[in-house]
């Protein structure tokens, strides 16, 4: 039997998969009719029972998040879909929206109905114009077909859906910074509690979910929980998109049941590029601690990855072979966190700046062995002591790389600089390729 389970990606190979017609050909929007025939509470209960967990990084149960929205409070509620996708390595939501924006819209209608929201937003990053076009068109077509707007499907449910386009800021993926940005402010995180379910957009009850989380809902409504739970592992149910990038023969998106291993995925993707071996990889983006070849058989589900000392995150598997200098890789990620630090709190704003200085010196062979300990010390003073999880993410590659590759940091000091040839790791390198 196939290891794979294309659900979200099942029809991406069709020329019109992104159109309303293309989506409807395969039963698109049937789940809306089914959901609108249920009560909102029944929809929440079904999604809760399915075991669907958030695909945006933290893995919080989606149905439970919906159930936190106060009911009968006579306040406006909002659904906000997080399409900011800016975590380094993460590249699943953008191809999903390019190839099938309607599955997100269908999921949003169902989710909004469940949480009693009549206004919903998609917050999409601004650096992807063609994805924006596809989503814009899909929304317009859904309105024209009576799937959005007043009295959807004649069932008395109203929903306005607005596409909000960002302008380049990783921190706006953090859900409270996203809400500030959507309200028209600088995108800086808010203190929690209160959580968005109580005081979110415009201080009103709000659900923030990742694109893939919401896009998974129509299939659950359509096929039921037994079908969904047949995929995945005990506590990590269902299918998901794994994104392979870097030094693999065939990089790309592979949709599989949760719990597949990197060994299995690499086999499907043709292995590490020929003539080379796996050195280190991220299980879920740059904010999740690095893994090495030791971890090839870790089940890629929420518990499996956590038990091995990292996080499933966004399932962004960035693969690096033995030609890659881990210090160079970590320096570049650290420069990213420094650049993207929103500046609200001191440990992160000042700390990421210092981390960059120290790693730059280490990479250039200008540091001392004591700098390595200073690096660990500063990192530990930032992680867990800052206002939001961006700073924890910044710490992950540093701490994990020193854990597995301390000798490589030291080699930069004895070698008087980087012992690697950066050209050898490019795709245009001929060295080491048969």
């Amino acid at each position: 039997m196939s290891k794979l389970s294309p659900v979200l990606s099942a029809h991406w190979d069709e020329a019109d998969s992104f159109t309303l017609e293309g989506y409807k050909r395969h039963g698109g929007y049937n789940a809306v009719s089914k959901a609108l025939a249920m009560t909102p509470d029944e929809v929440i209960a079904l999604v809760k029972d399915s075991g669907l967990r958030g695909r945006g990084g933290a893995g919080f149960p989606t149905g439970m998040k919906w159930s936190f929205i106060p009911q009968g409070d006579n306040k406006a509620h909002y659904l906000v879909v997080n399409a900011d996708e800016s975590e380094p390595g993460t590249c699943k939501d953008m191809p999903l929206l390019m190839a099938n924006p309607h599955v997100l819209i269908e999921g949003m209608i169902i989710a909004s109905y469940a949480i009693r929201a009549n206004y919903a937003f998609i917050y999409i990053r601004g650096e992807v114009v063609h994805v924006v076009r596809r989503v814009q068109q899909a929304i317009a077509d859904a309105y024209a077909a009576g799937l959005l707007g007043k009295n959807i499907g004649g069932k008395g449910f109203d929903l306005e859906l607005v596409l909000h386009i960002g302008a380049g800021a990783y921190i706006c993926g953090e859900e409270t910074a996203l809400l500030d940005s959507l309200e028209g402010f600088r995108g800086q995180p808010r203190l929690r509690p209160p959580f968005p379910a109580i005081a979110g957009l415009y201080a009103l009850p709000t659900v923030v979910n990742n694109v893939e989380s919401i896009a998974s809902v129509p299939a659950i409504i359509e096929h039921g929980n037994e079908w969904f739970q047949a995929m995945g592992t005990e506590k990590s149910k269902g299918f998901t998109l794994y994104s392979l990038s870097g030094h693999v023969k065939n990089p790309g998106q592979i949709e599989a049941p949760l719990g597949i291993t990197l060994r299995e995925l690499l086999e499907l993707a043709g292995g590490v590029r020929s003539g080379h071996t796996l050195k280190f990889w991220t299980p879920g983006g740059s904010s999740t601690p690095l893994f090495t070849a030791e971890h090839l058989d870790v089940p890629l589900d929420y518990e499996g990855v956590a038990a091995a000392g990292s996080m499933l995150g966004t399932k962004a598997l960035q693969i690096f072979d033995e030609t890659t200098c881990v210090v160079r890789a970590v320096l570049r990620w650290t420069e990213f966190y420094k650049h993207e630090s929103c500046g609200k709190c001191t440990p992160c704003r000042e700390g990421t700046w210092w981390l960059v200085q120290i790693i730059r010196d280490l990479e250039a062979g200008k540091g001392t062995p004591a700098d390595l300990d200073k690096l660990i010390d500063i990192t530990n003073n930032i992680a867990g002591r800052s206002f939001c999880a961006l700073a924890d993410g910044a710490a992950s590659p540093i701490i994990s790389s020193i854990k597995y590759f301390r000798a490589e940091y030291e080699a930069h000091l004895t070698h008087g600089g980087c012992p690697f040839d950066p050209i050898a790791s490019t795709i245009f390198a001929t060295v080491g390729q048969p």
Binding site: F18, V128, Q136, P251
Partner: protein
């Protein structure tokens, strides 16, 4: 420069999308860029007036986000991803070669105003590394030569088409209008998905 009645009515329609008008600040800034190519003082003043904010409040927002430009950029704004994965796969080498080829550094524009260069962060297309974005359209699987050809084409008014995007590359200002939420009718052009996006689907069809 003052805004035409037509432009003001577009700005009003952008504001009307939202339950509270301050939320319109970001699309309005994109709209200002679609007219002037960057965030002009006049644009800031107009947005402040329409949203009943101070110009300082609007400027504070505009300077927070990297896509809002305080100075004009090229008609073709070339973003080369140099975050870790793309950098390692060739993005660093591409950036250095193209910067030398054009004689401009990061955040600079050629004298003819045609091409500007920016080191960009991860653009959610890692399975197509090395990635280059021109006016925020995807140019996948790039090489040093392909990007040199790209910028040469752009300077002579003949840029190649994006890999996953419309049939012809639109200008910076034209694409800024799309980011303001205004449709250019080109959603139907280009493929549904690139080859890498279809990896798992194709494997499953082979029974893997």
């Amino acid at each position: 420069m003052s805004y035409s009645p037509e432009q003001i009515s577009i700005m009003d329609s952008i504001i009307a999308r939202y339950p509270r008008k301050r939320s319109a600040i970001m699309p309005l800034l994109h709209f200002v860029q679609s007219i002037s190519g960057f965030v002009t003082p006049e644009g800031i003043e107009k947005i402040a007036e329409l949203l009943e904010l101070s110009t300082a409040e609007v400027t504070a927002v505009s300077t927070f986000y990297t896509q809002y430009k305080p100075e004009p950029v090229g008609e073709y704004h070339v973003g080369i991803c140099t975050n870790t994965l793309c950098a390692v796969m060739g993005g660093d080498a591409i950036f250095d070669a193209v910067s030398e080829h054009l004689g401009i550094a990061n955040d600079e524009t050629t004298k003819d105003g045609k091409v500007s260069l920016e080191r960009i962060e991860c653009n959610a297309a890692c399975d197509y590394a090395p990635v280059v974005m021109v006016n925020w359209e995807f140019f996948d699987n790039q090489t040093i030569q392909s990007v040199k050809d790209l910028v040469d084409g752009a300077r002579t008014g003949n840029p190649p088409a994006p890999t996953r995007g419309p049939k012809t590359l639109r200008t910076w200002k034209e694409n800024s209008a799309v980011l303001a939420g205004l449709s250019d009718g080109l959603a139907g052009e280009g493929p549904s998905a690139g080859h890498a996006s279809l990896l798992g689907l194709n494997l499953s069809k082979e029974g893997k």
